[in-house]
């Protein structure tokens, strides 16, 4: 359970009837987590524990109690589990994030973004 003071929070009803996903990346983050759990890369219980821990960590660090913070915790939880389970290291993820950023920067608006647009480094495969 969170140790946060419940009185500090904004009214819940304000958040009713909001769209399920504000942005595509939020849907993709949850989709990635569920797909990996479905495939058995981590168990539903591991997912639940890790997501709860990352969410509490962000809130405890001063992040606002918002949908955005929740989905940031989703991304952190997936990353942490993939590190703990071994398939991905911090360095490899960071390099790939940098490549995707560069690919977006190199691709004109409206065109599909492909990783190759970032001078993709084959050595990280």
């Amino acid at each position: 359970m969170t140790q946060l003071d419940p009185d500090q929070f904004a009214p819940l009803v304000r958040h009713d009837n909001e769209p399920v996903f504000d942005e595509l990346w939020q849907a993709e983050a949850l989709g990635l987590a569920f797909s990996l759990a479905e495939r058995g890369v981590f168990s539903p219980a591991e997912w639940s524990r890790t997501l709860g821990s990352e969410h509490r960590g962000l809130l405890g660090g001063g992040a606002a109690d918002t949908t955005r913070t929740y989905y940031e915790a989703v991304v952190k939880a997936v990353e942490r589990l993939l590190r703990e389970k071994g398939p991905l290291t911090v360095d490899v993820v960071e390099r790939r994030v940098s490549n995707w950023r560069q690919a977006y920067m190199n691709t004109p608006h409206g065109q599909p973004v492909r990783l190759e647009a970032a001078y993709y480094d084959e050595s990280e495969k």
Partner: protein, 215 residues
């Protein structure tokens, strides 16, 4: 780029970067692409999930289950006995990843569901949870002051109605079976399903109205 030659450098720069996802979005892309290369994820899996849960699986699936239970006493009995198995009788449930327990509201009892740990929820039959369900405000207050939370959602629960709060886990998830409202005698399942709201199946709404469509 030749089409942009007449634009200022600032405008061009803005357009080039306007579709850059925020940092967490880039991290999702990075992990997804690495896992696909390693053969740990099929290329279409995440897109298929997003399409399914954005467009196909949602509260209407749960509403159909509730409506069927209202019309079919034998189905209702099976649903309350073993929700996981009973919902398989309907053909549109999503990916089942946990056991489902259906809890029935009565004139004397109101049920309300929360996940105090994270955001466990019956995705397979209600779609992704509403945003308030994921927030620390709800997860904390639903346990410490559940009647206050219900007040905030506009439902004042009479003192003599017992309030039960159920804590979802990754292994066991809950669906509230709301009471069938007066004035719906003779309605078919489809019409009944149209008045069952998402919040009534989580327990932040108690009374359904025959005059309103589903949220």
């Amino acid at each position: 780029m030749s089409d942009d030659e007449h634009k200022s450098a600032g405008e061009v720069h803005h357009e080039l970067h306007s579709h850059l996802p925020p940092e967490p979005g880039l991290r999702v892309k990075a992990m997804e692409s690495l896992l696909i290369e390693k053969g740990m994820l099929d290329p279409d899996t995440v897109d298929a999930w997003v399409e399914t849960y954005s467009e196909k699986i949602g509260p209407k699936c749960g509403a159909r289950i509730v409506a069927k239970a209202w019309c079919d006493d034998a189905f209702k009995a099976r649903l309350l006995e073993n929700g996981t198995e009973a919902v398989k009788e309907l053909d549109d449930a999503g990916w089942a990843v946990a056991h489902l327990k259906v809890i029935e509201n009565t004139p004397d009892i109101h049920n309300m569901v929360v996940c105090t740990l994270c955001s466990c929820y019956p995705h397979a039959i209600l779609g992704p949870p509403p945003n308030w369900y994921k927030m620390a405000a709800y997860r904390s207050r639903a346990v410490r002051d559940p009647r206050g939370v219900l007040d905030e959602f506009g439902m004042s629960l009479a003192e003599d109605i017992e309030l039960l709060v159920w804590d979802s886990t990754s292994e066991l998830r809950y669906l509230v079976l709301p009471e069938r409202p007066e004035g719906t005698q003779g309605w078919d399942e489809e019409r009944l399903a149209s008045i069952v709201t998402r919040n009534s199946m989580i327990g932040t709404q108690r009374v359904l109205s025959p005059d309103e469509g589903a949220a």
